[in-house]
Symmetry: C3
Subunit: 139 residues, 3 copies
Amino acid sequence: MPTRTHYLWFNTKHRQEIIDITDEVAEQVRLSGVKEGMVLVAAMHISASVFVNDHESGLWHDILRWLEERIAPWEPSAYRHNETGEDNAAAHLRSLTVGHEVIVPITDGKLDFGPWQRVFYGEWDGQRKKRVIVKVMGE
Amino acid sequence: MPTRTHYLWFNTKHRQEIIDITDEVAEQVRLSGVKEGMVLVAAMHISASVFVNDHESGLWHDILRWLEERIAPWEPSAYRHNETGEDNAAAHLRSLTVGHEVIVPITDGKLDFGPWQRVFYGEWDGQRKKRVIVKVMGE
Amino acid sequence: MPTRTHYLWFNTKHRQEIIDITDEVAEQVRLSGVKEGMVLVAAMHISASVFVNDHESGLWHDILRWLEERIAPWEPSAYRHNETGEDNAAAHLRSLTVGHEVIVPITDGKLDFGPWQRVFYGEWDGQRKKRVIVKVMGE
């Protein structure tokens, strides 16, 4: 079973940011030679997400606002985790909600996505170097 | 490594609906001949979910109400995504929260589930043709 | 493709509890002999989670409070599921939010985690025997 492991690096300009990584993932699938299998795409950090959704900037804006207003407000004094000197407890909770990884099926050597599906890196506490693992497995 | 890929189609009567697809997934595992491995079950749309939970209609009602009242109210005017002409931004956020896919382990040729686990398709913006991929991998 | 399947059992003292299971998962990877692949870690119950995050007790406290106050209050009378005689509908919704499983990549025979990543069992309705499946796959 061929496997291929690759790491994508990010250092976002903004503290929260959503980045389309579909082309990078598809390129790793191509390089792996895998025709049938899957690719695991996982944030290697506990304050970030990887998710599948829509390439539409209005929606990205909605997601960032929804995480802040409804899911987990940043509000550093509200969390016990921040007594450790951090201020990013909310980023952890956002990672738990949206998830930190996806598995994308590979069929005929391609990402087997529906028409609108794309894979994204969700940075919830950036402005520093962070990583995503891309591991292709199959035959 | 044998793999088997199958697509399930849905066209729900209601715009939001929860459908038990365990039997269809189990049938694909049987047809694959895989004894040890796993099956990926993933929505091919960005306004739907696949999840594992309980076959209990009261709970399905609770899930739909919880998504509307607590997680992401439908309220079309609240989202920038809907300025594109859509009204379904809330369905995207529900898909992000519940997730769009699961991996079910296969042991001795069967779905290796606990006593109450079942796999569901969660339609958050239906009344049109949509798809789920079932990909079995293993040996 | 070697696979290895193991079950971890829990019977928590408290009804809600977060338990670091990284060492148990890493031990199963070691015993499997798999050098390149992945390990699926999945709750076998519909009122529990498996997730990747931080080994920090302040954060665990924040997670439990956030699930109660913001995601799904326990409040038994608020849910139709509880008319079946249960009182744990909120535990189901927490499982849906945080997810019930993760896939961890294996590279060079080790869990390929970032520096702070650990894997946890999240018990949302415990004080009884419950299980997690650990299935290692790869080569």
